[in-house]
């Protein structure tokens, strides 16, 4: 039996959780937004604010603080797809996508950085974009920034790790600054990656999603969208199934009919959904192509004094000194068990190094690749993706440069030992002279241990419909009633952490959609 939830007494502004579903159901709305991560949440809120009837769908459940796991690995099994163990093929690189209300905003470090204008100039010039300059996007960045209270990390929660990074950059004359974040009342627990127990991080589940609900948006969690419904060249809704939290066991079917389908399922899931829906919006052949990451390398430094690494903002300081050369440097802290994995050795030797952690800091660099590219494919008869990616040797040189700079910052900050984490060179360096190998050697991509949680461009925007999937407002080329607003629409790397840019673009897209509806 199928029932129309609205006729059955469903009221606007409510959330539905797994235990609430007891039958198949149908809904109608002006707009259905698929995905409650940063981009989807902004779009849902802005559409609701414009007076539209909005349904926001999320495959994962809402997670309350009692359910936050302090252990990094167990936290990932609950909050990440594939238990946080997803990797690319080709160049094997871990990458994570969240599955919970609020998406990645629940488990990221809240970094909200505006790309400098030259990034958008490149976007406009290389991808035939007319209205995507820094100036064009400024009001959208401002609106999101004001809503979330984005401010630089306060001094009282920087802690020694972030202060040492600043000290090292200052000593070298490099630009650095406290990282702007969507946080109100940070306590410096360093636990951003396992969700904020202090409820200070303004993740979407405590910011945009409740705000959208107050404006009447209906939020359905534990629902997996399996197909976009079409009529001719027009999207008319979505359908799928209710899925149990964590196990993913499928039960009741649902359908949402809407005048606009807004996909914000994420760079990995959105192309798979389009392909599973009959290869939608793919006249260009670009759906799932041009996959880009920010491959990241991390370096650990050991200091003579305790760094109390568990205290301080997870990622509270960064440097844009080398952005034009293709990389950004920042402070990093992760759950200790995850941080320890990067240390070399085994046995008593390994334990000796583990005992260094209270004296350690970790800095990382994310690079904007120029030649590396990949592809998202759908696994056969499944919504699971296959990610192919190959790190190009030219980009490995940027990783090498970045690693060298991080090592220099450590020594400038007073570290006595630095662990560069590059296979084939010394595990430990105790002087800048030893680090010279990073300036002179020709290192191969396989020598770097890379990871990336920043993904974009698999449904990129392009002014030419033959070369991109969406236009500058996220509207798909060749398909009415279908927009994409996740970071898949970036034409290429934003140079910096992508969440803020994604939200700004979603803010603009929502305005355009609201005008059309």
């Amino acid at each position: 039996m199928s029932v129309d939830l609205r006729q059955a007494g469903d009221s606007a502004g409510e959330i539905h959780v797994f235990a609430d579903y007891d039958r198949d159901f149908n809904l109608t709305a002006d707009a259905v937004v698929v995905g409650s991560g940063p981009c989807g949440a902004v779009a849902a809120y802005e559409l609701a604010k414009a007076g539209k009837d909005v349904v926001l769908l999320e495959e994962g459940p809402p997670i309350i603080p009692d359910e936050f796991a302090l252990d990094g690995a167990l936290s990932m099994t609950r909050l990440m797809r594939d238990a946080g163990l997803r990797t690319t093929r080709g160049t094997v690189m871990p990458t994570m996508q969240a599955i919970c209300l609020g998406g990645g905003s629940l488990v990221n470090s809240a970094m909200c950085i505006r790309p400098p204008d030259f990034i958008f100039e490149h976007w406009c010039g290389d991808y035939e974009l007319g209205v995507t300059s820094g100036g064009d996007l400024k009001p959208h960045f401002d609106a999101v920034g004001d809503f979330l209270g984005i401010v630089p990390t306060p001094a009282d929660v920087l802690g020694p790790r972030n202060e040492l990074f600043a000290r090292g950059c200052d000593a070298l004359g490099y630009q650095s600054e406290p990282t702007p974040r969507n946080v109100r009342g940070c306590v410096g627990s360093g636990e951003c990656f396992t969700a904020c127990r202090a409820r200070a991080k303004q993740s979407m589940d405590i910011s945009y999603v409740p705000a959208a609900m107050k404006l009447g948006a209906r939020v359905l969690t534990s629902v997996q969208v399996q197909r976009v419904l079409t009529r001719g060249a027009r999207a008319v809704g979505v359908e799928g199934q209710v899925v149990a939290p964590f196990s993913g066991a499928r039960s009741h079917r649902f359908r949402v009919e809407a005048r606009e389908v807004v996909l914000a399922a994420g760079v990995v899931a959105t192309p798979v959904l389009l392909k599973r829906s009959g290869n939608l919006a793919n006249e260009s052949g670009q759906v799932g192509e041009n996959l880009q990451f920010h491959p990241g390398v991390s370096v650990m430094g050991i200091f003579p004094e305790r760094t109390h690494p568990r205290f301080g903002a997870t990622q509270g300081y960064h440097s844009l000194q080398f952005l034009a050369e293709g990389f950004k440097m920042e402070v990093l802290w992760a759950p200790p068990g995850v941080t320890a994995v990067r240390l070399p050795g085994m046995g008593l030797d390994f334990k000796k190094r583990l005992a260094w952690i209270p004296y350690a800091a970790v800095f990382d660099a994310i690079i904007s690749t120029k030649e590396s590219t990949g592809r998202v494919k759908a696994r056969r008869r499944s919504l699971d993706p296959v990610l192919q990616y190959r790190l190009h040797p030219a980009d490995a040189r940027t990783l090498q440069h970045a690693t060298h700079e991080l090592v220099k910052i450590f020594f400038a900050a007073g570290a006595h030992t630095v662990l560069p984490g590059v296979t084939g060179i010394s595990d430990e360096m105790t002087s800048l002279e030893q680090a010279q190998v990073l300036a002179t050697a020709e290192l191969r991509p396989g020598q770097f241990t890379v990871a990336s949680t920043h993904v974009f461009s698999a449904t990129r925007m392009h002014g030419d419909p033959r070369r991109g999937v969406v236009d500058e407002t996220g509207r798909t080329h060749g398909m009415d009633g279908l927009s994409i607003v996740d970071t898949g629409i970036f034409p290429r790397s934003p140079g910096v952490n992508p969440m803020f840019t994604g939200m700004a673009l979603a803010h603009r897209a929502a305005g355009a959609i609201a005008e059309r509806l």
Partner: protein, 209 residues
């Protein structure tokens, strides 16, 4: 010829299933559990800078829980990882005597040498397999409260405030009628910065069970 084949099959069966001690794990097989216990001790022997050994720290129990929690595809890969390393001594034997025995049957020193061989192998896939194993064991080691406390890496106690959103969401698996908080529960004073000497999270205190 038939006798040779039967003998080989017999040896294979013996190697794969015979002689593992009984256990009460939920997700790990008997062979997995024996391998993980041996690998935990080789990776984290007792003594040194942190007294707890891998088994003292509860790595086998942790991995049993962890493997039970991950999705089926990842669970299969983990079983495959343990199986591969348990039996790869056929191709990469430990030093004599009888270095070709399964990993869990080797002496502690032989187990150490075998893992060292994986870690320093010139074959990148072997090093990758070692990294995967070491990652799992290390996460298990750091799940131990006494290890975390000893390194001053334990989480701090935080009085989690009740925010407006907490009035919307029930615990996972429960209906909306079971949302725990109402408007009267909202916290108006937020906690201040913790600092390096913040009190220890209750689960990580020395007297915690």
């Amino acid at each position: 010829m038939l006798w040779v084949v039967l003998a080989l099959v017999g040896i294979a069966v013996w190697r794969l299933v015979w002689g593992y001690p009984p256990h009460s794990h939920a997700a790990l097989t008997r062979a997995d559990a024996a391998f993980v216990a041996g690998a935990s001790e080789a990776m984290f022997p007792a003594g040194g800078e942190i007294p707890e050994s891998g088994v003292d720290a509860g790595i086998p129990q942790y991995l049993d829980t962890y493997v039970a929690t991950v999705p089926p595809r990842q669970r299969v890969l983990m079983h495959a990882l343990f199986f591969l390393m348990e039996h790869a001594t056929v191709f990469f034997p430990a030093p004599p005597p009888r270095g070709w025995r399964r990993f869990s049957a080797l002496s502690a020193e032989q187990q150490r040498v075998v893992l060292e061989g994986w870690r320093t192998s010139s074959l990148a896939p072997r090093r990758l397999v070692f990294m995967a194993l070491r990652s799992l064991l290390t996460m298990g080691y750091f799940a131990c409260p006494s290890v975390m406390r000893r390194l001053d890496l334990h989480p701090a106690a935080i009085d989690t405030p009740v925010v407006e959103a907490d009035l919307l969401y029930p615990p996972v698996g429960r209906p909306r009628s079971e949302v725990r908080y109402g408007p009267g529960d909202l916290t108006h004073e937020r906690p201040g910065p913790l600092g390096p000497d913040a009190p220890v999270h209750p689960d990580y205190r020395g007297d915690a069970g």
